[in-house]
Symmetry: C4
Subunit: 209 residues, 4 copies
Amino acid sequence: MPTAYNEITGRSIERLAALSDGIFAVAMTLLVLDLHVPASEVIHGQGDLWRTLAGAVPQFISYVMSFMTLGIFWNGQQAQLNSFTRSDRHLSWIHIAFLFAVSIMPFSTRLLAGFIAYRSVLIVYWGNILLLGLVLYGSWRYAIRAGLLRENVTRDRQCAVERRILVAQGLYAFGACLCLFNTYVSIGFIILVQPNFALGLRLPYLSEV
Amino acid sequence: MPTAYNEITGRSIERLAALSDGIFAVAMTLLVLDLHVPASEVIHGQGDLWRTLAGAVPQFISYVMSFMTLGIFWNGQQAQLNSFTRSDRHLSWIHIAFLFAVSIMPFSTRLLAGFIAYRSVLIVYWGNILLLGLVLYGSWRYAIRAGLLRENVTRDRQCAVERRILVAQGLYAFGACLCLFNTYVSIGFIILVQPNFALGLRLPYLSEV
Amino acid sequence: MPTAYNEITGRSIERLAALSDGIFAVAMTLLVLDLHVPASEVIHGQGDLWRTLAGAVPQFISYVMSFMTLGIFWNGQQAQLNSFTRSDRHLSWIHIAFLFAVSIMPFSTRLLAGFIAYRSVLIVYWGNILLLGLVLYGSWRYAIRAGLLRENVTRDRQCAVERRILVAQGLYAFGACLCLFNTYVSIGFIILVQPNFALGLRLPYLSEV
Amino acid sequence: MPTAYNEITGRSIERLAALSDGIFAVAMTLLVLDLHVPASEVIHGQGDLWRTLAGAVPQFISYVMSFMTLGIFWNGQQAQLNSFTRSDRHLSWIHIAFLFAVSIMPFSTRLLAGFIAYRSVLIVYWGNILLLGLVLYGSWRYAIRAGLLRENVTRDRQCAVERRILVAQGLYAFGACLCLFNTYVSIGFIILVQPNFALGLRLPYLSEV
């Protein structure tokens, strides 16, 4: 029977969650690994050191932003996994694709940190966030259609999850568009908007999200 | 009694799963870590940057392929672990050998990404995949013989797991042979075949797998 | 209903613990990754090798100190997580902020190991420890106020946790002040005080902690 | 009450196991990360590549040996953790010290791989293994004395665990002594002896272990 294998694979939400936590943990720690300590030969005093560290502030901001982004998506994914009764093979693969997007994040961040003034780099970075959002949205739609949600996930909650992903992605897209003016404006906008998702603050336009 | 120690070691499927998830998570994230950001001294404009990134596309393809391969084997291993009632010392060591093959994967991938046109490198890469398949096959055969399977794993399911490993390895071996023509043909074949395993699509020859 | 999403996100203490264990594991292992092996071209005999390794002793001390610090905070965080009945979105984000401070620790340690005689570097390192302490203290205060503690956590225990964080941070702050004399005195003080927290020894001033 | 904090910290065997699995997973994957791919500028054909890879065989052997060693100690630690009913603060710290020894293993391995013919390096490597064994032995003795073992751990099993650690360390020490002749003899001996521990084969002298 061809489907026999399908039935025994990809059922365990717990192991999917464990793999996800592992990949998020490695990706989030590797972000900060890229903060390089200046070579001791170049540094001849406290002044040199401070100047070098101060020069790394834009990089540091990229890392904080990426750590926060990964935190937001970790929260989003775990909210989804907590809402599923079980997994199937397709859902497993949707989440492996999601984890691929997570694992590229340190690369996108390094790229952004190295070339913070380049518009194209900001577009790549935003593309990474867009991919995270698209796959997570796809995961939710698929789980609804395939009947994998817990019974206590009401229609209202289903919509809340979808609306939230869409609004967040809309704001990220708007932020990315701001790079037409200046990449720093884009990054500033994203950094200002993120705490709203993280902390659930009620900014005017977001109170109903 | 000499066997006393054997009895208290290597029983816990849960910890074996946790170690596996950890090693898979690190290996899958490290893959992408090797994507280097170009040095800022070499880049004098958006054009330079795009050209450098475009030059890294073959590398990027190697990483996507390896991430997918690891995803497939993670799924395969977890399907097995979910089918065991308990572990014993031999099974633990079979899976530690499997995890060794997983941990070499970033090395094989780096080698392939660096020397994508070399036949010998493709053979090394395929050898790594073969090792993953062999050990996983050995794990399943051993578990059947040692009576470690859950009762609800029917004879049909047992065969489905074995057949799947064999067909997959047959296709990987065929793909590796294609390097007689050209290594790009090999890689193209593997990339086209993998989604079938991942998503369970029904290609003509694979519908009964 | 705006709060719908808040209700389904950030509930799972288990996944928060899993992410934390992962980030601590990666950060603690990466610490030692920075211990570089001398290049074989520079080494012409056993004498050369010993001299190079002996020169790395101050670095090694920094790593041991950081590993111990992370061990102490891992213990502190897990004691808190074990005391919570559930999480909510704010608590999740407090702990993600805590994990951010954990993930910077390898950077602070590398900085300290590279510039062990610089006062400013010691202040940065202490700032990292202070951040860990502040966020952990905030987590506990928030959990009390939001009613997230288990019922068996008595008022006495609540105070024990708070007192412990405050005394530890007081000692770390005192140690950091000692860098007015010499950074080695600071580091020596911190190394001598830490086993007290780790092993619960009863030094005169700490017996009531 | 001074002991209040001691009571709420360090109780959870599960989280200790999770941290351990994480650190083992990172350490075991990082081992192989050190296998460097030759720079493409140096390689002008398949012959060059094979010669460079063949030159890395002694390094590869060091990594296989370390992976196996970590696998053996992971098994040993998990057998212990499975035998405990609960943890206490001292036991937690004994295992954090054990994990420190685990996290140095990639450094010792890199050192051995780089200077495989140096007696002093082999002594450092053996010192690392000795430390792993000592701490694990200490953990078991402490757990017996503090009454942390499960009731079904008989006196016989207690002795089996101790005997096994002592015999293994005796063999490692003997292997290290062989470096008086030649470091390759040492390494050969350790590699030949390890599968016995891994697979529980019954060599003449070890059948009663």
